[in-house]
């Protein structure tokens, strides 16, 4: 009846408890099976007792490691290799970290950092953009928000309110406009207005809708053509999401180069364990966590803190 690895010297009750905690945190069956299969040898390594607290300590260490070592291993299936994310790094230009040390001189679109925020419907993209803009501004950046959701009712109004609240510029067009055109406009406006960062909002979309995923790829191509490099794409995942989160991450990352995740709604009771499977399987790191509905409720991701909270 037991799901998890055989040959473990732990007693039935302890194994039951581990199983329930891992599954209950939305870590998923695969992660749970894999982690517990190596528990006994790991316990021996660390000289731990065969009891629940020791096991959880080992698992937390495992999780922290998986999350801190995550490096993207999935590329868009049709991506142009000449312009893949690694390319610019070779020229000595660090575009990986979303937080730059010093905003470079903005003389052309090439110098504007573009953050591209995507994800399925209702995960917290627009709100996270406001929070990220606020965070970057506090560090001295001049941020411009692009109202790239030209589809949903009052999506433009929503981000305009946020822009006003954080004191950032906002570029928008008429509802139904081409999102690529909005992004294009916004980047040029950033150059004209001396902004070093543009954060582009997009409409929520289920990863199963091929035409909507293709639209996303098109917007990224337009941004690339204008700036000469990929935007930093952040995939927003709701902490309440179950196993579907892995499918979401896979399809988005196979469509456009995804830098990392924003994990939202961690102020709820869900643990967000799906990011462990996403890190293991796809190598996508969590870069930020959302913990509430105000602009201050965004923090840089800390694997240790997250691992500690998993089975709290």
């Amino acid at each position: 009846q037991r799901l998890l690895g055989g040959g473990v010297k732990l007693d039935e009750d302890t194994l039951d408890a581990i199983e329930e905690l891992l599954i209950g945190a939305d870590m998923g069956v695969q992660s749970a099976v894999r982690i517990t299969r190596t528990i006994e040898s790991r316990l021996r390594e660390t000289g731990g007792e065969a009891d629940l607290p020791s096991v959880l300590r080992v698992i937390r260490g495992d999780v922290r490691q998986i999350l801190s070592e995550a490096k993207p291993k999935v590329k868009p299936l049709t991506w142009d290799d000449a312009l893949e994310p690694g390319a610019d790094r070779k020229k000595g230009r660090k575009i990986r970290t979303p937080v730059a040390a010093e905003p470079p001189a903005r003389e052309s679109a090439a110098d504007v950092r573009v953050v591209f925020v995507v994800g399925v419907n209702g995960t917290g993209k627009t709100t996270s953009i406001a929070k990220l803009g606020y965070l970057l501004q506090q560090r001295g950046h001049r941020v411009l928000l692009a109202a790239g959701d030209t589809f949903r009712a009052a999506a433009v109004e929503q981000i305009q309110v946020w822009a006003e609240r954080i004191g950032a510029l906002c570029v928008a067009q008429a509802p139904g406009a081409d999102p690529a055109a909005v992004a294009y406009d916004a980047i040029n406006a950033a150059v004209a207005r001396g902004c070093d960062t543009v954060i582009v909002d997009t409409a929520g979309r289920l990863h199963t809708k091929t035409n909507l995923m293709a639209e996303l790829a098109k917007v990224v191509r337009v941004i690339r053509k204008l700036t000469g490099h990929d935007p930093q794409t952040l995939l927003v995942v709701d902490a309440n999401t179950g196993q579907n989160g892995l499918a979401q991450a896979r399809v988005f990352a196979e469509t456009i180069p995804v830098e990392g995740l924003i994990l939202t709604k961690l102020d709820g009771t869900a643990k967000g364990g799906i990011v462990v499977a996403i890190a293991e399987t796809l190598g996508l790191p969590v870069l930020y966590v959302g913990m509430g509905e105000t602009v201050a409720d965004l923090a840089e991701f800390d694997p240790g803190t997250f691992a500690d909270a998993l089975f709290a």
């Binding site: 799901l3 419907n121 209702g122 309110v161 196993q243 989160g245 709604k265």
Partner: protein, 292 residues
Amino acid sequence: DLTRRLEGAMRKLAGQPQLTEDNIKEALREIRLALLEADVHYQVAKDLVARVREQALGQQVLQGLQPAQQVVKIVHEELKRLLGGETASLQLPAKGMATVMVLGLQGSGKTTFCGKLARQLQKEGRRPLLVAADIYRPAAIDQLETIAGQVGVPVFSDRVKRSAPQIVKLGQRKARDNDCDVLIVDTAGRLHIDQTLLQELNDIDKMVPMDEKLLVLDAMTGQEAVHIAEQFAAQVGYDGVVLTKLDGDARGGAALSVKEITGKPIKLVGVGERLDDLEVFHPDRMASRILG
């Protein structure tokens, strides 16, 4: 799919006349894995498999049915039964003004659902009025007003900083003045652990008693679905569940967990972003979907 997975697990049954403890052990494990992968709650999956085991044991291996198919059939029937057997509809009073309150976590699809419900009721010959009782989210009022315009129904909103219960009261008055017969109240997304905001829902209900309270739940919700549903049921109470974003590929195990633990029926499902994308919940279709 589950049948194929079980076929591997049940190869031992070749030539066996009966389903026994030993020869269905692997199959039961596969079923449990499938349910957990579908986001069915840990305990719910365990209990379900225990019941399937009880029903399966001692059964004769039926003529014309592969043993794997036989076990899948037991599981499918059990799921269907748990999900509510028959479709359940909204219980709106035929006479007078019906009142519906829509509640749930942030981003679950409440505002969109309010528009879909208004369109559906309008098609059925009713005259709905939407109430914008989300006083927190930026442009929430704009969103519902836009949707109301798209459906062609009146909406009551307030930008003068009134409380949610006051807004609903005024909305009811506007509905009466406009000869509307259904009040659909959109509320702000909130956490199931936020006592202040849970109280707000109760205050709305006290101000204008609600005939139907609906919990809107995202179909991709994971293990926490049970906790979420329990809290809303205990602190606020609701009559039914609306499962949204079923046009994706989330297996939707949350539906089973919620129904099993709280007993509340799933009444409607959202299958897209357009205001027409609303369907009645079909337990048998959901059962197949969960089993993958």
